[in-house]
């Protein structure tokens, strides 16, 4: 037993005391390191060969923000990352390579540059590379969130690859065209679509380029679960956003924390007063309640991002504020 009053002003602060900090990981630095990791450890030894993007403010914990994990995963030609499942949910955005795949719940989904895939809570999954080049992608998971709930469970499947019982693109054929098969009902509260393909998503984004869009994010679209219209997985929202040439958005902040990845082009963001220049392949983080704005002054850019917004919204805890001055100093 301890007195609350000694710590109350520390526990209940006027605004969140956010420990994670704005940070960027440049692909020019990340790529050689993850490839070097490929030489040092096999996929089998590693279980998952992932370099974690550890937030410098979080004392080495495997976390990019208070709730989100981010990492870069590599699968070399011929390798398999064996089948397991866990309660944390993963989202993945493919950075480089041809011939990669993820099998989730019996469906083998090809992974091509720009594709967005999900691996929901407790679904069996394994990855492989049937191509001739390394395959690399961004992994986003809610590990810190699930860990803080004392809700981590993990299990191995027992065989390297799970049986593939569905045909390629099965889920996109069932659910990808605003129709649904009437004779079946998806299980779970996550999107029945395994792979949101880059060409489709990118075309959708460019289709709205004539719109005004969001003052804070330009043309920004959220990947949705066609079975309920919500986010693709219950804990994380994923977005694709187009910054048009010369666009410089207004600054805002929200409680939801976000990991951004540069899918195309270059530009910069001002996050918490610091400028981060970015180009294709870079990953950066905007912590909770931190001012941020984006600029693509030299050419167009497309950003992928994922955030913990659905968690906050479930409990009325998200807030958003526009910067009165429009942009940070």
């Amino acid at each position: 037993m301890r007195p609350l009053w000694a710590v109350l002003s520390d526990a209940l602060t006027p605004e969140p005391r956010v420990r994670s900090v704005p940070h960027i990981w440049h692909w020019r630095d990340v790529r050689p390191r993850i490839l070097r990791a490929g030489a040092l450890v096999t996929a089998e030894e590693a279980e998952r060969r992932v370099l974690m993007l550890v937030n410098p403010g979080l004392d080495g914990r495997p976390a990019a923000t208070a709730t989100l994990f981010a990492g870069i995963q590599l699968i070399l030609p011929g390798e398999v990352a064996r089948t397991h499942h866990h309660t944390p949910t993963a989202v993945r955005f493919i950075i480089e390579g041809e011939g990669g795949y993820t099998t989730v719940s019996g469906e083998k989904g090809p992974m091509r540059k720009g594709d967005y895939l999900t691996t929901p809570n407790w679904t069996w999954h394994d990855h492989g590379n049937e191509g001739a080049q390394p395959v690399m992608w961004l992994d986003g998971l809610d590990i810190p969130f699930v860990t803080n709930l004392d809700a981590i469970f993990y299990e191995e499947f027992g065989e390297e690859r799970q049986p593939v019982v569905k045909s390629v693109n099965d889920s996109i054929r069932r659910w990808g065209s605003n129709l649904k098969p009437s004779w079946e009902t998806p299980e779970g509260s996550y999107s029945p679509i395994l792979n949101y393909r880059w060409e489709t998503s990118r075309a959708a984004l460019h289709g709205l380029r004539g719109d005004k869009g969001s003052p804070f994010d330009g043309i920004i679209m959220e990947y949705i679960n066609p079975y309920n219209g919500g986010p693709t997985v219950p804990t994380m929202a994923a977005y694709l956003q187009l910054l048009r040439q010369g666009e410089h958005t207004h600054a805002h902040r929200h409680v939801a924390s976000t990991v951004y990845h540069v899918a195309e082009g270059g530009g910069y963001s001002v996050v918490g007063g610091r400028r981060f220049d970015w180009e294709e392949g870079d990953t950066f983080v905007v912590p909770a309640w931190t001012w941020h704005e984006h600029a693509a002054e030299q050419g167009e850019a497309v950003l992928f991002s994922f955030s913990d917004r659905p968690i906050l919204r479930a409990f009325g805890l998200d807030r958003e504020e526009a910067l009165a001055a429009g942009r940070q100093g």
Copy 2:
């Protein structure tokens, strides 16, 4: 005041006493008549030039089943069916013609053969034909249902055409690819998509042709509202179904009543013990709680249909029963 006991067995029957009857309207009969109507009355005079498919069991009421209206609408080249709105909701399936369009809530949507469009409750809409040939489609409305609720409202816009304030395919670009624009929220409880295009829907249907599908309906898909995963409009569900060559489904019955339209191919259905042969363009009706089975023994067929299932489901009133014998004698 009257005694219930004199009418109780009449009011509370063991099974529904359905007055609408199975019936088919052949396109070879319908087409010349609706074209003749085009010669007799202008679109302006008619407000809507529609031949109603009146169920013979319903005493001439404008109804195909107890809850659903069906009709065939014609717009001649250069004509406009002026802007109005009403509380009944319409679904439309395009049968023939090029150059037709419907404008709903400021979006002008092209109507091509096989397209499925919706005109929800109280949305302004006008139709036109900018092509060189007659444009004809199937109209499905919940007029009998809304009438029975004493909830009919109708209003004219005042101008022939409403202003078009959105670009062509605006809604499919916003909502058609399993992403949604983050900066806006659709109004209403209906699908934000105006036009479900035939080439997309047909491809989705054929994409599942390797599935077993439903024993009663073959490969059947429901058009869905991407904003909530439900039917495209609150009162009616719309489907597209593929009957593969040689397929003859099992018989079942359900409380939901259905209007079918032959989108492609030919075959027959046995409805309430009677065989109805059909070919492209035909429309037939399966009343509530009536056994029905479908056959495409000569070649493939695609059926479009709409039903009042969402109304029944909203109140726990739908039931489905499989015929023990498999098929009707």
Copy 3:
């Protein structure tokens, strides 16, 4: 096939063309007739000894409004109205008598003056009278609505009384105090509470007498389903409203049609321009889209009512309008 344009202005009217009319059934007329019915027919012969309150505008159909049935039921001492179930849902408001009961799904619920009970879709139910005096109540059902959907099913249980497997007041003990038993989940989409007791409901109503309340209805409360906060049954909303001495509400109209029953006191309502004076035991009807206002100028009054509002709301079809002049001429 028939031309829509010949009937379009008849089918799609600017406002609903409501056939049911405002009407009142005075208890002083109803009571002797239902008692006389008790002398003419036994409960066994009648299945249910109910005098229907037939709306004069509806050509003798068993309906009080387009969607709602209302009737007065009598059970004499020692009688049993045998067990059956049907897809129409019933609500009941007890008018007179001691010793009546309804058994629903194995729970036997006492029926006392002012109690509100429900008998949802397809639940087995039987009634009886274990007292020494006639028991009479108002029955409200969605029979016209369910009939119009071709969804009537009816079945007899086979025994006069169903087994009573729950203790008296079982459901109110489980669900009546804003707590719920954690080890069970109610079936169905209707309230788990069988009997909303008069003393509780009346006390709640009087507890808010200091409020301003609704300008159109005074202190009006809706009976709710504690499992989901919605109406007690999916198709009908039921209300209790207090008109304080001297209160004369403003006129409004809405698409929802309503059957009112005077639970206590006297006053009058102006419905569709006609004044209806009422006193305890009277039942009157406000059809869809009809102006109505209530007055309790001599003393306090409590009105019970039920309406089809949940049906209209499910499809965005309810509308409400206040009379600009405040009250009808």
Copy 4:
């Protein structure tokens, strides 16, 4: 950047690695200490005079489990704990004293022994004691959970007491009897009821004493939000449970962590293999995924508890397992 494979088996464990431990705080120890605190610090100095029940496994963090805070609050006669609000939500269970009150959103609610009150996210609240004796209660908050989301906001009202704009028991009168006022809609996603009164709740619990109840918890009821049937606040579920004389429940475990408080009687629980004897006023904690069983072998007991179950359920993360052996060794 750091290698995931070095920490993967640490991050993704087969079962949760729970750091909080089973623990009990006896009222005989707590009471003198909180009273001593009353002598050492004023309510004004303390902002809130609360002794935290700090879990020994959590390194001194203000937390009873990974997600839940528990504390004992004292208000002395005449004192006021001034008005503030914060994003963490509080639930309160009154232990001792007469004359205490909490004002939430303008409603002043009396606090009597056994009452359950809520103070949802961002609602203004102040406490006071208008009696002659100390008032003490158990505070439960989701502070650790909200802190882990970087979502703490806190603000002072500026005046000691907020204006009381509603009458005593306003919310229970509006919402406590399974009716709701039709002219208003509650704001927020929490229960509109401020105070769940002991006499009502206890009577409900005893009303089900004849039931079999839950094998793991006896007669256990959850306080519910009458507006939606869910828990009283979005993040925490609160329960009252009756252990009948001689009852010894089966052991189970679940991911949801729970803080228990003994409202009446005595007995013991076996938690994680350790026996904790308890009597009225004691508080004990069952961490996530920890076996627990309860026994009231000498007489009856009533336990109040609150848990983070709604958080886990929102994301499909709760699991429950029965101990095969029935009870722990």
